[in-house]
C-alpha cells in the first residue's frame, strides 16, 4: 500500500531534482549534480543487475563489470558508426543494443561459469574478469588499450529530435532507461524463471527433483543479468563519451558487489539504496577527503559483520514495529546510540585523516583543515583526541548497543504477540 505512491514519488523527485539546483542567474544546471545523478542511474542498473545473481540466485560473481564494460565499448563503436552515417540507430535505442552486447557475452561466459557452483563458480568469474581485463589492454582495435575509445554522442539521430548536447538531456535519457530496466528486472522476479532462481539459491539439489535443471536456471539468469549490466554500460558510454579499461575491470565488479550488499540483497530495492549511497560518497566525500575509499571499505566490513541484510534489510526489520505503531518507542534508544557512534566515527575519521595528511597530504602540499581551523598533524593533541574519541566511543557504544539490543528484542517479541 505504501509502495504504490513510493515509486511514482521517487521518479518525480528524480525528474525534479536538477531543477531544484538550477542556477537562474546564469541559466544553467548544476553540472556536478547532473553528473552525480547520471552516475547514480547507471550504478542503480549495475547494482540491481548484480543482485539478480547475488541476492536472487545466490551466485557470487566477480566479473559483473565485464558485461557493463562490453556494453560501454559496444556503444562507443556504435555511436561512432552512427556518427559516420554508417548505421541508422537513434540515440534512445542505443542502450538496448548495449544490453544485447552484454547479453551475448554473458551467454558465452555464463555457459562456462554456471557449469560449476559456489566457490568454483566464483573462481571462474574471477578468471573471466582477469581475462577481459587482459583482453582490453591487448586488443587495441576494439578496446583502445589504456587510453580507451572515445566518441561523440551528438549523432543527430534521435526519435524526439534531441541533440544530447546538454547534460540534462542525457540525464533524462539515463533516468528513462533506469526506470525501464528497473521495471523489467522487477518483473523478472515475478516470473517462473525468477522464482526458480530463488529456489536454486535456497536448495540447488531440490530444484532438480521438481523437474528443473538448476544449471539452466542459473545460466539464463546470468545471461539476463548481463543484458541489464550492458544497458548500464551503454549509458556510461553516452554520458562520458569515453570508455576505458576501468569500465570492465575488477574494481567496478567489486563496486557492484559493494552497492548491492550495502543496500541489501534480500530486498529488490536494496541495491538501489546502495547505489545511491555509494555514488553520494564517491561524489561527495571524495571531494572532501582522499580517504573516501577507506570509509567505504570500513562501512562494507561493518555491514557484513553487523548488518548482513544491508540497509534495506534494516528498514524491513522495522516493518512489524511500524505496523503496530510502536516505532516512536525506538526514538530514544536510537538517540542513545547516536552519541557514542558519533564519537567513534569522529575518532576514526580523525585518525584516518591525520595519517592521510601525514603522507599523501604532505606530498600534495595540502594542510589539514578540520572544523574550520588548520590542524598540525605533527602535534600530539589531535592524535590524542582522535584516539581517545575512538576508544571511548567504541566502549560506550558497546554498552549502549547491548541496551538497545534488549529493548529491540522485547519490542519485537511484544509486537509478535
Amino acid at each position: 500500500m505504501k509502495s504504490r505512491w513510493l515509486i511514482p514519488a521517487l521518479i518525480a523527485v528524480a525528474i525534479a531534482l536538477p531543477w531544484c539546483f538550477y542556477d537562474w542567474g546564469h541559466h544553467r544546471h548544476a553540472g556536478f549534480l547532473l553528473s552525480m545523478l547520471s552516475q547514480m542511474g547507471m550504478m542503480v542498473i549495475l547494482a540491481l543487475s548484480y543482485n539478480m545473481l547475488l541476492g536472487q540466485a545466490g551466485l557470487f560473481s566477480l566479473c559483473h563489470a565485464t558485461f557493463f564494460g562490453i556494453g560501454g565499448y559496444a556503444t562507443v563503436h556504435l555511436l561512432n558508426a552512427v556518427g559516420a552515417g554508417d548505421l541508422p540507430v537513434p540515440m534512445e535505442l542505443m542502450p538496448l543494443l548495449a544490453g544485447l552486447s552484454g547479453l551475448a557475452l554473458a551467454i558465452l561466459f555464463g555457459a562456462m561459469a554456471t557449469k560449476q557452483r559456489a566457490t568454483a563458480f566464483a573462481m571462474i568469474t574471477l578468471g573471466i574478469s582477469e581475462l577481459m581485463a587482459t583482453a582490453a589492454l591487448m586488443f587495441h582495435h576494439f578496446f583502445g588499450g589504456e587510453g580507451g575509445v572515445t566518441t561523440n554522442r551528438m549523432i543527430e539521430n534521435s526519435l524526439f529530435g534531441l541533440t544530447y548536447a546538454s547534460g540534462l538531456q542525457v540525464y533524462y535519457l539515463i533516468l528513462a532507461w533506469t526506470v525501464l530496466a528497473t521495471g523489467l528486472m522487477y518483473y523478472l522476479t515475478l516470473t517462473p524463471l525468477g522464482r526458480m532462481a530463488n529456489a536454486t539459491r535456497d536448495n540447488f539439489e531440490r530444484a532438480q527433483f521438481i523437474g528443473y535443471d538448476p544449471r539452466m536456471v542459473r545460466f539464463l539468469q546470468f545471461a539476463l543479468s548481463g543484458f541489464f549490466a550492458g544497458i548500464g554500460g551503454g549509458l556510461y558510454a553516452i554520458t562520458y563519451e569515453i570508455v576505458t579499461f576501468d569500465a570492465l575491470a575488477a574494481p567496478l565488479s567489486a563496486n557492484a558487489l559493494l552497492m548491492a550488499y550495502i543496500g541489501g540483497t534480500t530486498v529488490f530495492g536494496g541495491p538501489i539504496l546502495g547505489a545511491i549511497l555509494i555514488t553520494l560518497l564517491q561524489s561527495g566525500v571524495s571531494l572532501l577527503s582522499n580517504s573516501w575509499l577507506v570509509y567505504v571499505g570500513v562501512m562494507f566490513i561493518a555491514m557484513v559483520i553487523f548488518a548482513p541484510t544491508g540497509l534495506a534489510g534494516i528498514i524491513k526489520a522495522h516493518g512489524p514495529i511500524r505496523h503496530s505503531g510502536r516505532l516512536g518507542s525506538l526514538v530514544v534508544p536510537y538517540l542513545r546510540l547516536v552519541i557514542p557512534s558519533l564519537g567513534l566515527l569522529l575518532g576514526f575519521v580523525g585518525i584516518v585523516e591525520l595519517m592521510s595528511f601525514l603522507t599523501i597530504g604532505a606530498a600534495q602540499g595540502r594542510k589539514l583543515v578540520l572544523f574550520g581551523g588548520p590542524v598540525d598533524v605533527h602535534a600530539a593533541l589531535p592524535w590524542v583526541i582522535s584516539c581517545g574519541s575512538l576508544i571511548l566511543g567504541a566502549l560506550w557504544l558497546r554498552i549502549e548497543a547491548a541496551g538497545f539490543h534488549r529493548i529491540w528484542e522485547n519490542l519485537t517479541a511484544e509486537v509478535r504477540r
Binding site: L190, T191, P192, N198, I210, G211, D213, L220, L224
Partner: protein
C-alpha cells in the same frame, strides 16, 4: 508393464560395493516398502533410482524406459518424484511459493521469464488446493524454513507429489515424528498418493505392515526377501536378519 524395474543394479563407492545386484519389479499402483537395517543401502537405492548418483552397472526402467543414464530433472519430468530423508525444501521461500515451484515444470512453464506468475490462475489455484490438502493453508505466507518439523515434512511430501508424478519415492517420511504426527502423516500420504505407484523406505514396522502391498527387505545391499507382508513376516531369513529382534 511394470511401473519401475531394477535389474541387477550395482553401485560402488570406490572399492566398496554398497548395492550388490538389486532386482525389483514394482507394478503400477503398488505400495511397495523397502525395509532393512541401517546401512543396508535403502537411501542409496533411492539415490540411484532418482538419478542423484549414477549406477555402476545394471538397468533401471521407468514405465519401460531406461532412466539410469539420465540426470535427476529428466527422470522427474518422466514421472518419477522423490522426497528426502533430511527435509529438502526452499527455506527462504514461502510455503505457497515452495508448492508453486514444485508445480511449475509439470504445468509447462519451463524456464519462462515472460509469464507473470500472479496471472496464472490455474497454477495458483492448484497451489492453493495443495496447501489445503496438506493442511498448511494457515501457514501459506510463512517462510518454509520457519515451519515446525512436522509441517516441513508435510511440505516435503506436498512438493514431491505436486508435479503429478506417477511413481513416488518417499524416504522415511515419518522419521523423527511422534505417534500422532506419524498417524497424521500416513493418512496424508495415503490421501495424496492414491492411484500412484508408491515406493517407500520406512523404519516404523507398524506403518510398513499397515500400508504395504509388497515389502522388500534389503540387507547389505542385497534383497533377501520380497513379497506380500504375510510372506515376509514368515520368512526365516528375514526374521534372523532383521525382524527377529522385534518379534
Amino acid at each position: 508393464m511394470t511401473a519401475l524395474t531394477l535389474r541387477n543394479v550395482r553401485k560402488n563407492f570406490g572399492a566398496t560395493e554398497i548395492i550388490r545386484g538389486v532386482t525389483l519389479d514394482i507394478a503400477p499402483g503398488e505400495r511397495h516398502c523397502i525395509i532393512g537395517p541401517n546401512g543396508a543401502g535403502k537411501t542409496t537405492c533411492f539415490n540411484l533410482i532418482s538419478g542423484r548418483f549414477p549406477i555402476t552397472s545394471g538397468e533401471i526402467l521407468l514405465n519401460g524406459e531406461r532412466i539410469d543414464t539420465l540426470p535427476p530433472h529428466k527422470i522427474n519430468r518422466m514421472g518419477l518424484s522423490r522426497s528426502f530423508q533430511i527435509t529438502s525444501i526452499f527455506q527462504r521461500l514461502s510455503v505457497f511459493e515452495n508448492l508453486r515451484c514444485a508445480l511449475l515444470w509439470s504445468r509447462g512453464y519451463r524456464y519462462s521469464f515472460w509469464s507473470p506468475l500472479w496471472r496464472q490462475k490455474a497454477l495458483n489455484e492448484a497451489a492453493e488446493v495443495l496447501l489445503e490438502d496438506l493442511n498448511l493453508s494457515a501457514r501459506r505466507d510463512i517462510l518454509a524454513g520457519l515451519l515446525s518439523y512436522a509441517e516441513q515434512r508435510a511440505l516435503e511430501i506436498g512438493m514431491t507429489i505436486a508435479g503429478g508424478a506417477s511413481v513416488v519415492l518417499l524416504d522415511e517420511p515419518t522419521a523423527g515424528m511422534s505417534n500422532t504426527e506419524t498417524d497424521y502423516a500416513m493418512a496424508l500420504i495415503r490421501r495424496v498418493t492414491a492411484g500412484k505407484t508408491l515406493l517407500m523406505v520406512e523404519h516404523d514396522m507398524k506403518v510398513v505392515f499397515d500400508l504395504a502391498d509388497t515389502i522388500t527387505v534389503l540387507v547389505y545391499g542385497q534383497v533377501i526377501a520380497s513379497g506380500p507382508p504375510v510372506e515376509v513376516r514368515a520368512n526365516r531369513a528375514v526374521q534372523e536378519a532383521y525382524l527377529g529382534a522385534l518379534e
